[in-house]
């Protein structure tokens, strides 16, 4: 049902392009912990392997649930000169959201599979990496590839990055061959960033993403209720399914979005290392040619409570306006002048004005050997997201819970 793309760069939360190119504040995360100190007289393998198993579960008050098992692996040399990595995941989705119920349809279930492979080489100050990703679900195929260039300067106190990726999506309908019905979406992503070590404790990263989308990304299941000019203003925010069905006109056209969209974002990430923890502050500003403007602010603190235990509380605030063609109640008219409808119309709440607050808590507990407990660790994270939809049909708010349980191992 096309709920999840391979790499969502939507308005919610942080765009993944910034994360893909790997601008990260050095954090005392278990998986990124420095290798164990060499033992005198003992030969240390030049190769380090990491693996993790995760299961993520999502559920919300709109009757959507997703369970996602993920397996990831990475092999590289101890100095970080080269690495190869891969990931495979399965999304098991079950949904009976208000958008489905409002069209007299029943709960549906779907499985999505996705995987990616990548490799990087950075012998000295210059480096490069490439990656490829593929995602398959019955009505949505996605294939992507990209690469990044990395340059360390000023004695590695600064790092510059430049990345590009291309994503080709094929959008169809479940049960219908793509040859019968489908449309394509092409996404070019250009990312540039710089990471500066400000002093022994502080790091600042700035990343800018430019994302060019072309193609029809309208959802093939989403039909938009129309109202007469005198009824539309009476349709209240959060109007129920029965009210909408009673008041709407017979015409309910397919969603129609503009065929191109240019997105721009700027993310600043500041990290500060304290004696027993690391503070990370992110701010992302976003705008696009559909005139959606958004801000996302996140604060999290990685607290090292002991050699084995680290926790990270977080809070995130996101706010956005609606796209320029957003309307809670679209108007169509039929008369002597013809049948007139809005050219662009959508029911996608992620394109409407909204406000969300996320609170979460994560933790990692090292169960590895006493010499380096982080070599094997259990990781857990739980986030609650409260979203207020400010100008929508059917719902005014949504609460969702996202939980992850994972196991990370480092082998050397």
């Amino acid at each position: 049902m096309q709920l999840i793309r391979a790499c969502s760069v939507g308005a919610a939360a942080f765009g993944c392009a910034a994360l893909v190119i790997g601008v990260a504040v050095p954090l005392a995360h278990a998986a990124d912990a420095p290798p164990a100190p060499d033992t005198p007289g003992k030969t240390v393998s030049p190769v380090v392997a990491k693996a993790s198993l995760d299961t993520t579960a999502y559920t919300d008050t709109d009757h959507v649930s997703v369970v996602t098992p993920v397996v990831s692996a990475e092999v590289g040399d101890r100095e970080g000169a080269w690495k190869v990595h891969g990931q495979y995941l399965v999304d098991v989705i079950s949904a009976a959201s208000v958008d489905i119920v409002s069209t007299a349809s029943q709960r549906w279930h779907e499985v999505r599979q996705a995987g990616n492979l990548g490799a990087g080489y950075k012998p000295k100050d210059f480096g490069a990496d490439v990656s490829a990703a593929i995602s398959r679900e019955p009505d949505y195929h996605s294939i992507a590839g990209g690469g990044n260039l990395v340059w360390d300067f000023d004695d590695k106190n600064g790092t510059a990055l430049l990345g590009y990726s291309y994503d080709h999506d094929t959008i169809g309908r479940t049960g219908t061959p793509f040859s019968v019905y489908s449309h394509a979406l092409a996404v070019h992503t250009l990312a540039g960033g710089i990471t500066l070590t400000l002093n022994r404790a502080a790091v600042l990263a700035l990343v800018s993403d430019v994302i060019i989308e072309s193609g029809d990304q309208s959802k093939p299941y989403r039909y938009i209720p129309m109202f007469s000019p005198d009824v539309a203003p009476t349709i209240a925010k959060g109007a129920s399914i029965s009210v909408v069905n009673a008041e709407r006109l017979p015409d309910r056209p397919l969603e129609n979005l503009p065929d191109s969209r240019d997105r721009y974002s700027l993310t600043a990430r500041f990290g500060y290392r304290f004696a027993h923890g690391t503070l990370r502050a992110d701010e992302r500003l976003y705008t696009d040619t559909w005139r959606l403007h958004a801000t996302t602010t996140e604060l999290r603190y990685y607290a090292n409570l002991s050699r084995r235990l680290m926790v990270w509380p977080l809070v995130r605030v996101h706010a956005q306006n609606g796209v320029y063609f957003w309307s809670r109640a679209y108007v169509s008219q039929f008369g002597s002048g013809g049948f007139e409808l809005p050219t662009y119309r959508t029911g996608d709440r992620e394109l409407g004005p909204l406000f969300s607050i996320t609170g979460g808590l994560g933790g990692s507990f090292g169960i590895g050997p006493a010499s380096d407990p982080s070599l094997l660790s259990i990781r857990a994270q739980a986030d609650y997201v409260g979203t207020e939809f400010l100008d929508d049909l059917y719902v005014k708010s949504r609460g969702s819970v996202l939980g992850t349980l994972g196991l990370d191992g480092v082998f050397q």
Partner: protein
């Protein structure tokens, strides 16, 4: 000072970002090339009979909703299997059918009915696209020719009048 600037700026961004959108200020699309309304009555008779029962496209939430004697009635005073489909119901059905994919409908009509399978209506009706009600009018059947003929602008209703023959039984939605 810096703190006040930061929080002040954040407040401005948040308030600006959460302001409700104005009413729709995008462009409007007019279906310039509309299929004929005057010949639609005989077409919709077939659609109403084959698709319009209350469990299917007569259900209130359907994207393609149909009104008529076989199922949902537009006026509260009318009942299923009562008086014939009214002119208001024919107009409502016309808006429903044309308004489903208005841009593509306009293109198909402008091209004289060429490649009507561009329309979801035709694909689902023919069974070439997944459809809960299955194949309603097989390609080449009278029902199929009736709808396709309407899209070409033809005013020959013979196919429509002969759509219900023993080989084309009533198709009920599950």
């Amino acid at each position: 000072m810096i703190g006040r600037f930061f929080w002040g700026s954040l407040a401005v961004v948040l308030v600006g970002g959460t302001a409700c959108s104005d009413p729709y200020n995008g462009q409007s699309f007019t279906v310039v090339d509309e299929p004929r309304l005057d010949t639609f009555g005989v077409v919709v008779k077939n659609l109403d009979y084959s698709c319009g029962n209350l469990a299917c496209h007569g259900a209130v939430g359907r994207n393609l909703i149909l009104f008529g004697v076989e199922g949902r009635r537009l006026a509260a005073t009318d009942v299923a299997c009562g008086r014939s489909t009214t002119p208001d119901e024919i107009l409502a059905d016309y808006r429903s059918v044309v308004g489903l994919e208005p841009e593509i409908m306009s293109e198909v009509v402008a091209s004289g009915g060429k490649d009507p399978q561009r329309l979801t209506l035709i694909r689902k009706m023919n069974g070439t696209e997944s459809h809960k009600g299955g194949t309603v009018f097989a390609i080449g059947s009278n029902g199929d020719l009736c709808v396709r003929g309407w899209l070409t602008g033809s005013d020959d209703p013979s196919a429509c009048n002969n759509a219900f023959n023993p080989g084309e039984p009533f198709v009920a939605c599950p």
